[in-house]
């Protein structure tokens, strides 16, 4: 199965990636090969099978409802590219 330039653009936008023309071409080419690989799945008969999303099939553990986290803002914001007055700054968000 091949993939159109439109599809590539659509997916790149969903994933918030900006691809150069060369990258788009490369993506389309490698997608063709990858899709050929994954399309081999279609030959398997999987009717009557429950999908398996985890090898472990038990229930998830639960946490007590206790506040365990302290304010670490100063420490954590050392990694932040842009902060002011304790807030993370991003270009204007238009609602």
């Amino acid at each position: 199965m091949s993939i159109s330039a439109n599809d590539i653009a659509y997916i790149a936008n969903l994933a918030r990636l900006q691809l150069s023309e060369a990258e788009k071409e490369e993506a389309a080419a490698s997608f063709a090969n990858i899709l050929a690989l994954i399309d081999q799945m279609q030959s398997a008969d999987t009717s009557d099978l429950e999908p398996l999303s985890h090898a472990i099939e038990s229930s998830q553990p639960l946490r007590e409802d206790i506040v365990t986290e302290k304010n670490q803002r100063e420490d954590l914001q050392k990694n932040a590219p842009k902060c002011e007055k304790g807030l993370y700054l991003v270009p204007k968000v238009i609602e």
Partner: protein, 477 residues
């Protein structure tokens, strides 16, 4: 053409836990920005979610209260989209296997009739952070304190047919979550928020029309206004030969209009898939039964009990049972005075009028159930009349003490000494021969005049029943 409105509501309720849905951060309101954002809340690499036990309990509790199917296996999913207030780039929510499945809610409409509105589902999910647009040199500031706060999203069936029904449904839901103690339901803080899916169709049509989703409705009043204005917009559009577009619209309460939110329409492909950092939640019947035992008496049951136990009218019972604090207050008053009818009247009329005017909740009432019960006792034991009781109540609101004390210091004790009343009656008869003549010649309306005179002379303290009796006796002689 006659149109029918079709409404489905999605209500987000913030669960009243101590910590977040998947992290141990506090969810307290009003903290300094990003001081309640842990490494998980900030989506630092390598961090993982662990579900809050109480949030699950609260979701199940809600499910039981609306008679819903409880998911014995529920699954969290990732809903993927990019937004700066969504640190992980996905919201952890539940799609195909919510914790709460189909249920229903009985809603009392304005005309007193009861309508059952279906609940499609209710699922747990994380709240997003907040974007602040002021004061950052044209940039937006992101506060992630709210990110990860536990929400229960309650989705109704499209069975609501008017803005009024929508409000009635919301109020009932609000009452229920407060009863269950799973949320404070404070709409002003955004702890209960509502999105409305609204469409119209020609009356008699069975297919649904194209709907618009109205976001950002944060009070009961606005729900009604937003729906009405949107219905009007859609009908105008259709009658002018136009079409309704399926879209998200924002309600602007200042302009009282809804407007399209095109920015949110882009790339509406959420790529839901099961959250691989979490296994399914598998619960058993024993877990459900354990939670069932913690359910309080719910509004409908309480209303019925008020009717059966206290012989209240449907209306009084509804008014009192609707709000849990009011209901408890009422029962506390009854416990003190034993008179349900008077308690109901005082709570739902006099006290309520004061609270409405003062704009304070019943929990902050200066008159406690103790005080009000004591006041009612003074009425039933004939210490004061109902009329004088209003004066005592005023004094109580002003903090002048209990009924006993106020009656004493103000000298409001009713005159019940029949000798004293007889003397007053005789004096009035003696001083008004003309009116006596009129009464005796059959003009019975004059009776009121005598009563008025006596009450005036006694400054309202004469026992009205005794005054009536003695006056009748004396006049007929």
């Amino acid at each position: 053409m006659e149109w029918e409105t079709v409404i489905g509501l999605e209500v987000h309720v913030q669960l009243a836990t101590n910590s977040k849905l998947f992290s141990g951060s506090s969810i307290e309101f009003g903290a300094e920005p990003n001081t309640q954002a842990s490494i998980y809340d900030l989506a630092l690499p390598g961090t993982l979610p662990v579900l809050n036990k109480e949030a699950l309990k609260m979701a199940v509790k809600f499910g039981l209260a609306v008679d819903a199917e409880i998911g014995m296996k529920s699954v969290f999913d990732r809903k993927n989209y990019f937004y700066p207030d969504l640190p992980k780039g996905y919201q952890t929510s539940q799609l195909d296997f919510p914790t709460v499945g189909k249920g229903s809610l009985d809603v009392t409409l304005q005309d007193g009739s009861i309508k059952t509105i279906g609940i499609t589902r209710a699922h747990m999910e994380e709240d997003a952070g907040k974007s602040l647009h002021e004061d950052f040199h044209g940039e937006t500031g992101i506060d992630l304190n709210r990110a990860g706060t536990p929400l229960l999203e309650i989705v109704s069936e499209p069975e609501i047919r008017s803005a009024g029904e929508a409000v009635a449904y919301l109020k009932k839901l609000h009452s229920l979550i407060l009863y269950l103690g799973i949320s404070d339901g404070d709409m002003s803080k955004g702890n209960m928020r509502c999105d409305a899916n609204v469409s119209v169709r020609p009356k008699g049509e069975t297919e649904f029309g194209t709907r618009a989703e109205i976001k950002n409705i944060n009070s009961f009043k606005f729900v009604e206004k937003a729906i009405n204005i949107e219905v009007e917009r859609q009908i105008d559009l259709l009658e002018d030969g136009g079409r309704v577009v399926q879209e998200t619209r924002l309600y602007d309460s200042e302009k009282n209009e809804t407007r399209s939110m095109r920015s949110k329409e882009v790339a509406n492909d959420y790529r839901y898939f099961p959250e691989p950092d979490l296994l399914p939640i598998i619960i058993d019947q024993a877990y459900i039964e354990e939670i069932r035992t913690t359910l309080p008496e719910l509004p409908d049951a309480k209303r019925q009990r008020f009717i059966d136990q206290y012989k209240l009218s449907e209306y009084d019972a509804l008014v009192l049972a609707n709000d849990l604090t009011t209901a408890s207050y009422f029962e506390d008053v009854v416990a003190v005075c034993g008179n349900a009818k008077l308690s109901a009247n005082w709570v739902s009329v006099d006290l309520q009028a004061y609270l409405n005017e003062a704009e304070i909740p019943i929990s902050e009432s200066p008159v406690t159930p103790e005080l009000l019960g004591g006041l009612i006792n003074k009425i039933t034991d004939n210490t004061i009349s109902s009329k004088i009781a209003k004066t005592v109540f005023e004094a109580m609101l002003a903090g002048e003490g209990d009924a006993e004390k106020i009656i004493k210091t103000k000298g409001l004790k009713q005159v019940t000494d029949s000798g004293a009343i007889e003397a007053m009656v005789e004096a009035v008869i003696a001083n008004n021969p003309e009116q006596v003549e009129q009464y005796r010649s059959g003009k019975e309306k004059v009776f009121g005049f005598f009563v008025g005179q006596i009450m005036k002379d006694s400054k309202g303290k004469a026992n009205p029943a005794q005054v009536n009796q003695i006056l009748k006796d004396k006049l007929s002689n």
